[in-house]
């Protein structure tokens, strides 16, 4: 092989760098789902927790268009319960602890939604 002394170490370095995410993951502590502060006085969210965990951003997206553009401010949940469509006045009434609910999960997943640039987080938990 021509220039084998350059090519082989080169390939080794390339493979090492390319697989970096895999072995760095093996070496660092395992991801743990953060312990979130759940509302004390409520047992159920508007929809099942599994669904909310996966799709809350989608629901907020649809809520925004329904409330603002269609003038439909009532959400009839799958169990028939009716909720006012409002991030600030419905969601965050129960999930009043933004730091230990929203932020904790967002931080450990490295997402930074800018909801609270406009929407006002409940007072006293910055």
């Amino acid at each position: 092989m021509y220039n084998g002394k350059y090519i082989i170490p080169g390939i080794v370095i390339f493979v090492g760098l390319f697989t970096f995410p895999f072995w760095s993951n093996l070496l660092t502590p395992k991801y743990e789902r953060p312990q979130l502060a759940m509302p004390a006085d409520q047992k159920e969210c508007i929809e099942p927790a599994e669904y909310m965990r996966a799709e809350h951003m989608h629901i907020l997206d649809v809520w925004r268009d329904q409330a603002l553009r269609e003038g439909k401010r009532a959400y009839v949940a799958s169990n028939g319960k009716v909720w006012d469509i409002s991030l600030q006045n419905t969601c965050m009434k129960c999930h009043a602890n933004k730091a230990d609910f929203c932020d904790k999960c967002h931080n450990s997943n490295s997402v930074s939604p800018y909801c609270w640039d406009c929407h006002v987080a409940p007072r006293g938990n910055q």
Binding site: E55, R64, N79, I85, D117, C118
Partner: protein, 259 residues
């Protein structure tokens, strides 16, 4: 002409790119799901109209306190910051006759009328230039005639500000929050880089409340359905002489002034 290796590679590359992007788009589509069985509805308490409109009876507004009370009611409920520069933000404010009704109707108006303050706000035009020019439908007209904004979608191009003939729009040149003393926790603030304006309190109408300025005006500002002959606005317009701002430009403002 036979296919050269170069041509083959070009086509293969394009095909791979096309496949890659289309599958990525499919994946993005497939992620978001609605909950089966969930529905959206208008709230039970909401006030409805075919065409919301406002009549300002300027004869009933006299002192500075009257105006300040109304302005404060609006600005505090909507978290409108007070910025002391040319980059200010205002939803409702006052100015003199010459500035409000720029088509000088009469050179010899009674001094009382000319020296008086008049309330200014978004006119919620029938034919709004701001909606026409907005490139993202962030500003749009609802079926009930109210011109509202989706601050989530606004890209901050400010075409609507150039388009508005009434100077009703403000732009958040910087972060508005440092200029807010008390934040109303029930209403959002805005963020840097979006345009904002009066909403005719569409969020209050939907829970059965009249606009904040109407409530604070002690009957000087009327609000109702322009298409309903029995509404308070139509009655007031039938009984009094009223004018609108810049009628010649065809926007059909929804704010009337009884002078």
């Amino acid at each position: 002409m036979s296919t050269t290796r170069r041509q083959f590679l070009k086509i293969a590359g394009l095909a791979a790119f096309g496949l890659g992007t289309s599958s990525a788009l499919d994946a993005a589509e497939a992620v978001a799901k609605d909950m089966p069985g969930a529905k959206y509805d208008v709230g039970g308490k909401h006030l409805a109209a075919k065409r919301w409109a406002m009549v300002i009876d300027t004869r009933k507004l006299e002192s500075r306190e009257d105006y300040d009370r109304i302005i404060h009611a609006c600005h505090s409920v909507h978290n409108v910051p007070s910025i002391p520069t040319k980059q200010e933000i205002k939803w409702i404010w006052t100015d003199k006759y010459d500035r409000v009704f720029t088509d000088d109707m009469s050179q010899h108006l009674s001094p009382a009328v000319r020296e008086k303050d008049y309330l200014l706000l978004c006119n919620h035009c029938e034919n709004p230039p701001c909606v026409r020019v907005c490139p993202t439908k962030a500003t749009f007209k609802r079926a009930d005639g109210i011109v509202v904004m989706d601050y989530h979608r606004c890209i901050g191009c400010r075409f609507c500000m150039a388009g508005c003939p009434y100077g009703a729009r403000s732009f958040n040149f910087g972060d508005p929050r440092p200029y807010l003393k008390d934040v109303n926790p029930a209403f959002p603030t805005r963020m840097r880089g979006v345009v904002e304006k009066c909403t005719f309190c569409s969020e209050r109408l939907e829970v059965g409340l009249l606009p904040a300025c109407v409530e604070a005006s002690n009957g000087a500002i009327l609000f109702g359905d322009l298409d309903d002959p029995n509404s308070p606005v139509r009655k007031a317009l039938a009984e009094n002489f009223s004018i609108r701002r810049k009628p010649s430009i065809g926007t059909q403002p929804g704010v009337y002034y009884i002078v």
